[in-house]
């Protein structure tokens, strides 16, 4: 368990996840109030990673439930292994015969079978799915319910029950209660609005694209060996591209991809040709790329004007083009 908000930041930093104070506060609260966290925000800002890193930081195992349309209880909670049950009945035919041997009437036979039926409906024949696994686990776990907005509203309602008491009822077995309360992270891409009931039970965290400083920190951490200057230039440019009206705004992961690509190409200073030939790592739509190139030109002009006034540096990247 985390001892303070700073502790959260430290432990996350050890897992190479830079988290702002706001994020840390919410995680700290979640671990102390034992409430699930609903993380919302645009794609690629590290929502899923937050769950993964949380598990790592606490040294707990991660159980992940990926949601999709049509996800139901049998996929999320548990399923009886009918095939295995059938197989066992076949194999145990003789034994069943013995049990039934002394029965004089049909009624008696049924009674005897009934008294043994928990043999077949026992935990031996149950396939636990992520939710049940999280509840059954002896050690506390982190349960990551990813892209909850993709699941049906019915599933969401079912999830409410699980999240409020961490107990589920399996008709044949009775109610199963969690040994250890898992920490729950739910992520949503806002494909649809979640129900108020679900939101009420969760702490809410809205993750947005990071400010310049934080993104710079992330780039330096995740792309080892990147030069200070390249990192700064990349981040500056991405930040200004995000302000454009694009179909798909570049996310953090795309910033990282781009920085890595530039590293591989041995660039340490951005110039126009280099950027436009690698821009596909950053932007995924033709129209977006065209729009960004405009911005790019202006940005590089500004940068050149700045460099012009500062002591001149050897144009290291330029030579590579020839």
């Amino acid at each position: 368990m985390f001892s303070s908000i700073e502790d959260v930041i430290d432990r996350f930093a050890k897992q190479k996840y830079i988290c702002s104070r706001t994020i840390a506060t919410v995680i700290y609260l979640a671990s102390h109030l034992r409430k699930p966290v609903l993380v919302e925000g645009p794609a690629g800002v590290g929502k899923t990673d937050l769950g993964k890193v949380l598990a790592e930081a606490l040294g707990r195992s991660l159980i992940r439930l990926q949601c999709y349309e049509g996800l139901d209880e049998t996929k999320a909670l548990y399923e009886w292994e009918y095939a295995k049950q059938l197989l066992y009945t076949q194999i145990l035919k003789d034994k069943i015969g013995e049990v039934l041997a002394g029965a004089a009437t049909l009624r008696q036979a049924v009674e005897r079978i009934a008294s043994e039926d928990n043999v077949f409906f026992s935990e031996r024949f149950i396939v636990p799915r992520p939710l049940l696994r999280a509840i059954l686990s002896r050690d506390p776990v982190v349960l990551l319910i990813d892209e909850i907005d993709k699941a049906d509203t019915e599933f969401e309602a079912f999830l409410l029950e699980v999240l409020s008491d961490f107990q589920v009822s399996v008709p044949e077995l009775g109610t199963i209660k969690a040994n250890q309360l898992p920490l729950v992270i739910l992520t949503s891409n806002n494909a649809r609005e979640m129900s108020d009931a679900l939101k009420r039970r969760c702490l809410h965290l809205y993750l947005d694209f990071p400010e310049r400083e934080r993104e710079l920190e992330i780039v330096k951490l995740k792309v080892p060996g990147v030069s200070e200057r390249l990192a700064a230039e990349v981040v500056d440019l991405v930040q200004s591209v995000r302000k454009l009206d694009l179909k798909k705004v570049p996310s953090i992961s795309e910033t990282l991809d781009w920085a890595k690509a530039l590293m591989l190409l041995n660039i340490d200073k951005l110039d126009h040709e280099m950027v436009s030939s690698t821009l596909t790592a950053l932007l995924k739509y033709e129209g977006d790329i065209r729009k960004a190139e405009q911005e790019l030109k202006q940005y590089l002009q500004r940068a050149r004007a700045k460099v012009g006034s500062a002591p001149a540096s050897p144009p290291g990247g330029k030579d590579l083009l020839h």
Binding site: V37, E69, Y82, K199, R200, L205, E286
Partner: protein
Amino acid sequence: MEAKILEFAGILRGNGVRVSPAEVMDGLRAALVVGLGDRLAFKSALRSAMVKRAIDLPIFDEVFDLFFSGLGQAMGEIARQTQAALQLSEREFQELMEFIAKTLSRHSIEVSPLARALLQNDTGRLAQLLREAASQVGLDAISRPFQDGQYGYAIGEVLRLEGVREELAKIQQILAEMGAGDPVAAQAARLVERRLSDLNEMIRRLVRSEREMRHFAQRESLHLKSLTEKSFYYLTEDELRRMKEAVTRLAQRLKNAISVRRKRAHRGRVDIKGTLRASLQYGGVPFAIKIDRRKREKPQVVILCDVSDSVRNVSRFMLQFVYSLQDLYSRVRSFIFVADLGEITALFGENDINQAIDLALRGKVINVFAHSDFGRAFQLFYRDYIASVTRRTTVIILGDARNNYNVAHEWVLKEIRQRAKQVIWLNPESRSTWGFGDSEMERYMPYCDLVEECHNLKQLYGVIDRLVSA
């Protein structure tokens, strides 16, 4: 602290943020866990526990700042202004206040708590006194800007401002008498004089921030509601801008509605293949019946949009809807026409929304300054694009059917209707004027499945809703 957070939750609710009692409890518990020491953590804690919709976050931030530090900040600001006006450094300001305090005790003058707090710039005490007075006059009921003066005056009465003024005048006089040979005393006298107007300013700020905090979101929402019922023809520039936002939001809501509706399609035919496959697991016994729940095919839409001068405003919103919903439908083809006809589907695919609409309306595709000729435009459509209309296509025509007495060519519409799933005509003119003058609505009407009058956002929304459910 409980009372404070409860009041805060009340103000959030007043601003349209849904905060349930359970969430207030969570907020309290969260605040206890993080404590009050760290302002950012406290704010994050309250926010995560009490605000659950991303669109409410700006309201929360605004109200939080006003509620938890609005007055304190205002006081700091006022003190700084005074410092600047008297050209004092931070230290000189402090020394001057100590000087005044010493002078007071030397002359053994008893002053009221308010005057003392004011002269020592004790912001905590000042804030407390002001808040007490505010709650006595019932400041939480304030709702309109013109009430500012009235409430400010009432607070002044409760604080006995007149008494404070006399006290300060007396002190100022003493200091002024001392100040004849002492520049420090003269400076102090000026400071005392200034503090009175500072107090007035503080009261004004308190009243204003209280009003803004309680009605931060109110004006916005009222405005939007009346906007949906206003005719497209009479919108001002500013309203056009707001309307655009409203349209985008409606489109978003529609998307949500559709995804829910699609998912409700739970029944279906038995999927023989799937059932057989599943039965293998049970030795050929069809134990689990699989049902074919494949999604319905998305509707295909062809839109013909009149962009002549008479319906320009309406087309703008129609085009905006088309743009917003383009990714919702598998196939949307959009055309604009006046006398010529041009396709703008690609234009919409490549440009961002405002640019695309501007390009479409500015005459890049067709001449938009010609006289409307529906018949000709329909004929052109028949010649070039009739193949794009299939039995799954919904054809939407937007226009006033004012044909300038040209040939109507309604046979094209008949042809389209035979091929299409449905034909919808949206007319921005009111129903009573159809068929008069050069309006050819009566001729076209028999070949449409649905003819709707559509001259405000509410009607447009209704039409789109029906379109989606079809």
